[in-house]
Every structure is written in C-alpha cells, then in structure tokens.
Amino acid sequence: MVNWFYIPLQGIINGLLTGALYALIGMGMALIFGVMRIVNFAHGAFLMMGMYATYVVFQATGVSPYYEFPLAGILLFFVGYATYMGLLRPIRGQVDFMVILLTMGLALVLTDGAQLVFGADYHQINIPLLSRNIHLGSQISINAPWLVSFAIAMALAGALYWVVTHTMFGRAARAIAQNPYAAPLMGINVNRVQAVAFGIGSAAAGISGALLLPVFYLFPEVGNQFKLKSFVMVVLGGMGSIQGAAIAGLVLGVVESLTSLYWGNEWALAVDFVLFILVLSLKPSGIFGSQRA
C-alpha cells in the first residue's frame, strides 16, 4: 500500500536532484541563445572541458569537486569569452547555419583534443561523500553528492537569475535579446555584452561538468547528451528565457527519472525528445514563452 506512493516519490526526488544540474546547463544555453540567437553546439564540449579540468585538479590536489567548481567556471568563462571574440564575432553577420557549423567544428576540436590528451577510456573519481546517503523516513534515500550538487546548482541558478534581472549587464543582455538593432543605439557595447554572456553561459556548462564529476563517468563524448538536453530545455523554456530553461530542467529531470523507473533507462532520452516535439507542435513559444517562435 505504501509503495505506490514512495516509489514514484523517490523517482520525483531523484528527478529534481538531477534536474537542478540540467537547469544549470540549460540556463547557460538559454542565456547564449536568448542574447545571441546562437545554438551553441559546443556547449556539451564546454561541459566536458569543465569536467576534465576538475578531474585533473582533483587528481593533483585531492580537493573535492564541490569546492573546486569555481575554477571550472572561471576557466570556461575565459574560453567562452575568447571563443566569442575570436571565432563568433567575425562571422556574426552570416547565416545562422554557418555559425552553428562553426560551433560544431569547435566541438569536434575540443572533443578530439580531449581524447588525444586523456585517452578514450572512461574515468571516474571516488570521494568519501559518495557513500553517504541521507534518509527521509524509511522509504526515501538521497545520495549525498546529488544533494550537494542540487544545492550548488540551485544557488548558482538563483545567482544567474539575479545577475540577469538586477545588474546593468543583465539589463543590457535583455535589451539586446529584445531588439538587437535598437540596443547599440542606446549606447550598449553589444560585442562586449555578448562576449560576457557567452562566457557566463559557457561557465555554467563548465561548472555543471565539475558538479557532474563525482556521480558520472568521464569520457570525451560525455557532453553530447547534455548538449541535446539543453536544446530541449531552451525550447521547452521558451524563447531563450532563463527562468523557463531552469524550470524545464527540473521538469526534464523528473520526467526522465519517472520514465526510467517505469519503462527503463533507455527510453529516458527518447521521452525528452518526444516532450520536445509535443511542446513545439502545441505551443512553439515554449511552456513559458509568450511570443511566436
């Protein structure tokens, strides 16, 4: 009598924990897409870079990724900023696809580069926290690392939201997102704001990689699935809305978790895409969007 409630509840809780991480990745992508209309195919590769960077530092110093993640963030901020300034800015005027193509090329370079440096094998790390579980009552158990990553991800998501709504940068970014022609006329240095936005978005991906390290296998193509999931989140969330992407991340986490529970792991990704297609057909502006797609 008790299982029909507790099993899905566990599923939902697990889903929210994973979803928080998804939300962070998705918000990064949403920021970039919202401000620049760029679908960044290198987003997953940036996550992978953050993950490898944290791995290297962990192997060298033994410091937990949950303390090291800011390093991944800083590294990827600069990588993102440089990518925008060096590669994306020169081709801003070109057709959408060429920009996407460039990010695809970049992803290839980064992924193969990682394979050259670290090899194609799967790595994983072990931290003491991994064996700790927190119990809520007798039926629900939460693996400690996920709780920590949930907390950090939610805090960062909140911080990002605050930056976007309360700082000059955020206002400039939103202005560019609404009207890229009028924004420079208002004195906004579009290139700099976009570069910073790209940097922040990439940093979010990098930090997510760091947070993922304790609980996931590390290998060069690890970023692929997260890249695809962030596409789904951006669309679900609507028109590059950051809050939308965050909520979409949580929704995605829960939906995947429940799907895995009742139909098996292999269908989780498929359900993501089915959800994606459903939202696109019924409400193209996204669950939280209000304009035409």
Binding site: V39, D96, M98, G105, V232, E266, P284, A293
Partner: protein, 333 residues
C-alpha cells in the same frame, strides 16, 4: 556561371564512371563510394537547406529509414529492390510527418525539431530489438550480386548525377524560385501567393526520397546495420556540413564539398591518425571563417567581381526626409 558549373560537374561525373576500370583496390573504391554517396546526400539536402533555406539537422532520419526499410521489408520476404522502393516511400512518409510539424517553426527552432525527430527514430530503433534488431543489428540483402563494389560505386555516381540534374531543373523552375523566395523572406513570398508550407513540404519529400535511396544503398553495401550507424546525428551533421561548406544554395556546392571534405577526412585519417577529427574540426572552422558562403559560393562571388561594373551606379538618391534615411538604414543590414 551556372552553365559552367553544370558542365564541369557533368564532365567530372562522366569521368568518375570510368574510374573503376583503372584497377583500383576495393578499399579505394569504398572511399570513393562514400565521396559520391555524400555528394548525392548533400545535393538532396541542398533542396531543403540550401534553396529553401531550412536548416535540417535530422536528415539521418530519412537515411536510416531507407536503410532499415530495405532490411526489414526484405526480412518479410519482399524482393530486395521492391524493399528499396518501399523504404524510399516510407522515408517520404516520415518526411511528410516531420515536415508538417517542423516547418511551422523558423530558424534554429526548425533545426532543433529535426534533430529531435531523428533522435527519436534512432532511439526507437535501438529500443525495439524485436522489430529492428536493436543494437545487435539486422542483416541487409545484397542488391548487386555481380562485382558488388564497382556496382555500388556506379550506383552512387548515378544517384549523384540524378540529384544534380534534378537540382539544375528545379533551380530554373518556378518551384525553385519559390523556394528561394521562401528562404529570402517568407512573408514576402506569402504576399505574392506562394504556398510556403506546400513548397517546403515538396522540397523535403524529394530530398527525403533521394536520401532514403542513399541509405538503402549504403546499408546494402555493408550487408549489416545498427541504429548508431545509420541514424546518428553524426550522419545528419556530415550531410549538412558537406553541403554548407561546399556552398548551400549553389548548384554544385555539395558535390565540391563532398569531394573535398570526404577526401580530406580520409587523408587526415592516414596522416594524423588519432588527431584526424581535431584537424577536421579545424578545417571546418577555417572554412567557415574565410569562406562563409561555402567554397563554391565564395568562388562565384570573387569571380563576379572580375566582371565589368554595371553602367548605372548604385548610388542612392539624396533622401528628403529622415524617414527615408532610417528606412534605408533598416534595409541595409
């Protein structure tokens, strides 16, 4: 300019037909098979992505459906070539369904939607082993019993020629015009009576048919397929890359793109070994940065600069009001 492109391509393809007679190894012929397969796929993609301007990143769906169509219909006892036909028809049906949802979306949303559909198909193929063999795979009948490697090679050269001829015909027709208008400004096209939805759908149906046929040929050559071989995003992106880098919206762009990129990929594999993908990625970045209209696009533009300047200058008349100035400013981005 166009006539030259067509002429060069025709000569090239004709010459290509004679190539196997020079005693090349099967291995080399297989590489050339890939070159022409992706040329044909790129040309097919070009109808939707180049002329109509709809960036599809899910063409692997049609490729895979063509491949699986051949495999699965043959398993039911249908003769191989009939199975190929059914596979192509099935690919077109998929295109109709995918298009009806995706074409309502614009720009990057369209691209993401196509990715989603292709991924769903891949995951369905993986997760229904009773139907598709799942990750274990499924056998594919051999379409050409007599000197198979050469025959497959010839079949893709002919497919490329067909796709090229079709593109050339479409480019000059009203249909082609409409596609290009949709690409440039869909609202303007609607205002002159273009049924944009119907045009885009037709372009996709034709594109899917050729792509599905390519998929069937590919599958038959390998005699065995798994979902991650014929339905992954890598195939979709390779098709799009070949067409875009060669020159989306040009006539022979995809052909040039495939010849150069597939050969480069092969050379990189031998020269750079494990770093080959990295170099390939760098190549993509370099081409996008320096030839953003694609190889053929940039080439034709540079060539046009050598022509005589037109008699009437481009200078705009002096505007009488500020409105004119701002309207022109809005026009000029």
């Amino acid at each position: 300019m166009r006539k030259w492109q067509l002429l060069i391509a025709a000569v090239f393809l004709l010459a290509a037909l004679f190539v196997p007679l020079f005693g090349l190894t099967d291995y080399t012929l297989q590489i050339l098979f890939r070159v022409f397969l992706f040329a044909a796929l790129g040309l097919a993609w070009n109808l939707v992505g180049g002329y109509a301007g709809q960036l599809s990143l899910g063409h692997a769906a049609y490729f895979g459906v063509g491949a699986y169509g051949l495999a699965l219909f043959s398993k039911l006892g249908i003769s191989p070539w009939a199975a190929v036909l059914l596979g192509v028809v099935l690919a077109m049906i998929c295109a109709a369904m995918i298009g009806s949802v995706s074409f309502r979306l614009r720009g990057p949303y369209f691209a993401l939607c196509t990715i989603a559909f292709a991924e769903v198909l891949r995951l369905v193929a993986k997760n229904l082993p009773n139907v598709t063999g799942g990750d274990v795979g499924v056998q594919v009948p051999l379409l050409f019993a007599h000197s198979p490697v050469r025959s497959f090679y010839w079949s893709v050269v002919l497919l490329t020629a067909f796709a090229l001829g079709l593109s050339a015909w479409i480019e000059r027709s009203r249909f082609g015009y409409y596609l290009m208008a949709i690409r440039e400004d869909q609202d303007t096209a609607l205002s002159v009576g273009v049924n944009a939805a119907r045009c885009k759908l037709w372009a996709l149906l034709i594109s899917a048919a050729i792509t599905g046929l390519g998929g069937a040929l590919y599958a038959s050559m390998f005699l065995f397929i798994v979902p991650d071989q014929v339905l992954p995003m890598e195939i979709s992106t390779e098709i799009a890359i070949v067409a875009m880098l060669g020159g989306a919206g040009t006539l022979i762009g995809p052909l040039v793109g495939s010849v150069l990129l597939e050969s480069a990929a092969e050379i990189f594999k031998n020269v750079f070994k494990e770093a080959n993908l990295l170099i390939y990625g760098v190549l993509i970045i370099v081409v996008v940065l320096f030839m953003p209209e694609g190889i053929v696009g940039t080439f034709t533009r540079k060539l046009a600069l050598f022509k005589k300047a037109p008699a009437v200058p481009f200078a705009a008349p002096v505007p009488a009001t500020i409105e004119a100035e701002s309207e022109r400013a809005a026009l000029n981005e």
